[in-house]
Symmetry: C2
Subunit: 779 residues, 2 copies
Amino acid sequence: MKRFLFPILVLAAAVTLHGQPSRYVDPFIGTAGMGHTFPGACVPFGGIQLSPDTDTIPHNVAGRYQARVYDHCAGYRHDDPTIVGFSHRHLSGTGHSDLGDILLMPFTGQVRLNPGTADAPEKGYRSRYSHENEVASPGYYAVDLTDDGIRAELTATPRVGVHRYTYPAGARQQLVLDLGHGIYNYEGKVRWSTLRVENDTLLTGFRLTDGWARTNYTYFAISFSKPIADYGAKDRRPGPYNGFWRRFDTSRSFPDMAGQDLAAWLAFEGEGPLVVKVAVSAVDAAGAVRNLQAEGRGGFEELAAAAREAWDARLGAFEAEGTEAEKTMFYTSLYHTMINPSVYMDVDGQYRGVDGNIHKAEGFTNYTIFSLWDTYRAEHPFLNLFFPKENADMIRSMLAHQEQSALGMLPVWSLMGNEGWCMSGYHALPVLADAIAKGTFTDIDAALKAMAATAENPLYEGMEDYLRLGYVPFDRSSTAASTTLEYAYDDWTLYAVAKKAGNTDLAGRYGGRARNYRNVFAPGTGYARPRYADGRFKEPFDPLQTYGEGFIEGNSANFSFHVPQDVRGLIREMGGEKVFLERLDRLFAEDLDPIYYKDNEDIEAECLIGGYVHGNEPSHHVPYLYAWTSEAWKTQYWVREIINRMYRSGIDGLGGNDDCGQMSAWYLFTAMGFYPVCPGTDQYVIGAPYLPYVKVLLPNGKTLEIKATGVSDKNRYVSSLTRNGIRHDCRYVTHAEILEGGVWEFKMTAKPDKRALRNAPMPYSLSDPRQDLLRKVLR
Amino acid sequence: MKRFLFPILVLAAAVTLHGQPSRYVDPFIGTAGMGHTFPGACVPFGGIQLSPDTDTIPHNVAGRYQARVYDHCAGYRHDDPTIVGFSHRHLSGTGHSDLGDILLMPFTGQVRLNPGTADAPEKGYRSRYSHENEVASPGYYAVDLTDDGIRAELTATPRVGVHRYTYPAGARQQLVLDLGHGIYNYEGKVRWSTLRVENDTLLTGFRLTDGWARTNYTYFAISFSKPIADYGAKDRRPGPYNGFWRRFDTSRSFPDMAGQDLAAWLAFEGEGPLVVKVAVSAVDAAGAVRNLQAEGRGGFEELAAAAREAWDARLGAFEAEGTEAEKTMFYTSLYHTMINPSVYMDVDGQYRGVDGNIHKAEGFTNYTIFSLWDTYRAEHPFLNLFFPKENADMIRSMLAHQEQSALGMLPVWSLMGNEGWCMSGYHALPVLADAIAKGTFTDIDAALKAMAATAENPLYEGMEDYLRLGYVPFDRSSTAASTTLEYAYDDWTLYAVAKKAGNTDLAGRYGGRARNYRNVFAPGTGYARPRYADGRFKEPFDPLQTYGEGFIEGNSANFSFHVPQDVRGLIREMGGEKVFLERLDRLFAEDLDPIYYKDNEDIEAECLIGGYVHGNEPSHHVPYLYAWTSEAWKTQYWVREIINRMYRSGIDGLGGNDDCGQMSAWYLFTAMGFYPVCPGTDQYVIGAPYLPYVKVLLPNGKTLEIKATGVSDKNRYVSSLTRNGIRHDCRYVTHAEILEGGVWEFKMTAKPDKRALRNAPMPYSLSDPRQDLLRKVLR
């Protein structure tokens, strides 16, 4: 291996805890069921996710296909019978889809420039494949394409996808390059594409797509390990100007191709494997060539080894004990936290901003794919704790996004230099606040400015009314109740930062807004409920109903708990601890009628624990809310229950979309025994470890060992925790305490010690308990 | 005026010959009939041609509209009843069309986001207008939009179009910005567009078009002299993803718009004129903003004055005497030589190359719009003689194009960072050769390399056969005969450069290829005729027929004379001087049956002089071919005849497409008494001056006065020429002789002195006359 190519990764590898943890990762987990993960090759936070696409259901075909579109967010479904080809960018675990850029497919025999169908792959370039010899591991994927007997292997660098195709001896070695291919493709999603044959081993090109990423520039450069012997192309949807090309036969050996739906074929001479390297850039093809030159040197084996080493360097910061299945789930979850966000920048620092302009990232790495409605909860806190440099660069990327945004807003859903506006809230704020609270991002002034600009934008959903009324009215937004709850929490994070910065004006303003959640709790009901601009609450109202009741992807029974910033205040709103505990208990225990979730693509029966929906994010912190009550031990019960049922080590083992690592980060925190219920504080609420032993190499060089000897489904309760020999009688642990490292010993028991934490300090709440008392006295 | 903005132009203005020659320019000339010119505002070689579009006939409507599409190449037709709006880029005098980018239209009253029709302008945003107060002068255009009573005025800088709209008092001041508008528009020509409201006086955006320029990036920045009070937009062809924008009302006050067919409206508050400045860039919107900042400072009057001064600086290098109509034609022709080629580069030197990549022009200005089939003949030689710096930069632009070209070829038709492949030949070669022959471009090695790469490309039309057979076979190309003639001349220019560089290999190879024209002269006929790969000539064959006989936009009767590099050899091929003269005489005198040109959009009765087609370029040098015969005086007769009939000072006064200045450059050379029959030599064949006096400020600072006292339709013959008092007994004048400057006196007479030049040296021919003699003797 040419080690100079990966000096940082190699260096990092030198300080991992142990050898090859990548062997425990199973990228197939989540590729069936609802996980929406992909099995293909990538490096940690890499801009390339090179993976097989097993179907390409267009967006605008008959409605009955919609579910299948949703199924194919990540391009690959384990139960699909054919592979269409291998494309270079994929979202990991999302509930909406895009990308699938620059598809290659090897073939022998007759040239076919259409993909064909799963029923009749022989009519197109796609192929049947076998799971038998299919291999997926971090940075490597391989499969037999059985129709033509081709072995396909994939690996990746941050900006280059690397293919090795082994054709049958004596067969003509050919490839299709389909620039019209895409995930969630509709007729016209690809607005334009170009393809140039620069020389007999190099292609360059471009495509502009209008997908979920509305204006997505993808330039590329493709090199081959042997010369192109012949090639041709066809624009399957030619425009009227093509007559101008009469001077040439543009269908064959013409090096300057373009079209809206362009597919090309290439033939290569000679025996032996064909290695193809594909670099992308959002700047221009010259940028893609520079990326290729910088990262694409070396043979396939060398690059695959480097990719695996890059993963081992990251994964090796953790050492876990448990059954093989438990270790698989642990390391696979860790793997899934480092696919998205992804690098979105050329090797020279240039990238395309949200304003469409070309920018240079000065002093940071620019990232995209911020699924913030999901990832502010645990994914970013996880990165903030264990990979703070990357998380800080993600924040710098968000600040650049805010500067470039036409609305002057931090990202809501950052996707390939675009704002995808998916889901609600402005949850970049908690990500910034969390990093500031934990000292991993220090430019508070820049953050505060960007946060305030975001939280004051009158154009954003219901904001004008929210500022006036203290809640988003149901007249204005169909998700008015959940949006109000989300805004109030996000506002609290701004309050927290302003307070830290000593900005009393902002702290006052946002401290008030942080309490706006109260405005949607219908008095006497204890449930958040949508409210009209005139002050009335919606009537009738069903807190179990997911549809039409003012909540996004959830019901009031779950979403009413979304007050992480002020659990004490929430308990009061709900009617006191007794009611609060009844409500929590009922949530996990009740037998929810399927009428409440049928046809909801985000809620399926297997994602439910009672009425608790783990497969969707709004409830992720809920099992930890017992920590604010006298029955904190119930958290210990339910978190293990959730892991057992929602994180099964199998292809369909994920109990919902992985959502760019959020589901996985929940698992990792929980498995280690603590969880960031309220990002923006420096606290992690203590639950109960799932694994008997986890050792972590902290970013400050110290190690933390978390021991839960004898933990099991039976021994799931914590009777005590000692940190470095000293008893930790607290319901939470601080960031600083984690960074001290050392040894934590959880004593696990089969029966809860219901008195253990009774007098232990509770986690943060905006409402001061003494003020609560005062209020009670004065009433 | 802020003079620091235009230091170079102001400096140039200081050394002009006289005051305001721009007053003689009539931009309306050619806006009716076949001229295909536009009346709008631009500066010399500027990248902005801001002009009214009077119709936008789509490309793919019923065939009967095709002629109208052709009519609207420049966007404006003087006889159209309505103006659709004002767009920023136009081709000057071409026979094919594109551009019409970034259309603005002022209006009052109800918002309409469709253009409406010429029959019912009130149903859309277009307006009737009046010629009465319509004004066009270099750098300035004004018109009354009568429907809403708005005065529209336009001016330009190299990269910024400037609009001043004066609305009726009390009316709501509004604008339409139609990003779906284009010239030669078809459904889907605009592949994608974006529009951002950066602040209340600045818009930015982008559109990607697939027109004649196949992948055309147009970024823009638009500033307003008063704040935007309200705005909205509509994508008239929305894609399926627009549902994601449900979080906003994207139709109103939403600052981040996009779509395939986007039209926006803007409203402004307050009285007084609205000034709008529109900058473009092919790099990104930030580039457009920089262009706006660099060039867009100052008020409308100031910028219009600067534009006029820029023209006066250029036009003022010439001083002509004649009737008002003659001076109008002279200066208007001069004006038309400096619209295209046009700057294609941001103020910081960045531009988008033919490879789609962003390049920086180091040490030169990058230009585009090279209509080389037309302009190699007289337009580039004209610039080479009088504006050699610009011509040399155009050559550098061509060399950059060659480096970036997927085919490694110099431009055939350079259009906005694209290769348009319009017409035949590789006529960048004569442009390079001419500059090298005349010492205005000195990097011979770079030129020779690019020329050879271009002339050896086996992919290019018929080249493989041409290299094998010595002619392009009719089996391969429908324009095989003319293409062979064109290749042979272009090859000669490479020979000439190779010879100068002392590269005997290349000189030998291309000296041979320069004689390939002979291969398409059917023995004994004296006519070029298409030939099959097996050697047979096409039978039957009609040398007058334009269609299907192997010639592009011309017939054999004209095209057979296309051997400028070897007129002596041509005379021999035709059967000797007697036959050659008969053929020339007949060409000008014969009564061509309309069956030979009906339905040809490039040949109309009024463009004909006998069978000579001046409106199309292949014959432009033909009237000068008498110089190689004993009847040189006939040139003097016919060139005046051509000017009288093809260059009439009126809106429909041009006898054909101006073709980016080629027609105009022919006029200018001819009016001064000489013409570059064979670019690539240093010779200009002497004809007869049309005007009694022309004085030119040469680029070396010297002046040249050309006197033809008493010249008239009657006194059209030259009996003698003295240069600085010394009799010039030669049929041509060299480049160096012109650069000596001084005074030329043509003695004009009513009767030709048929013996005057009998013994005078003939212009260059590849065939050496002594060799001819030797061959005769040996036969």
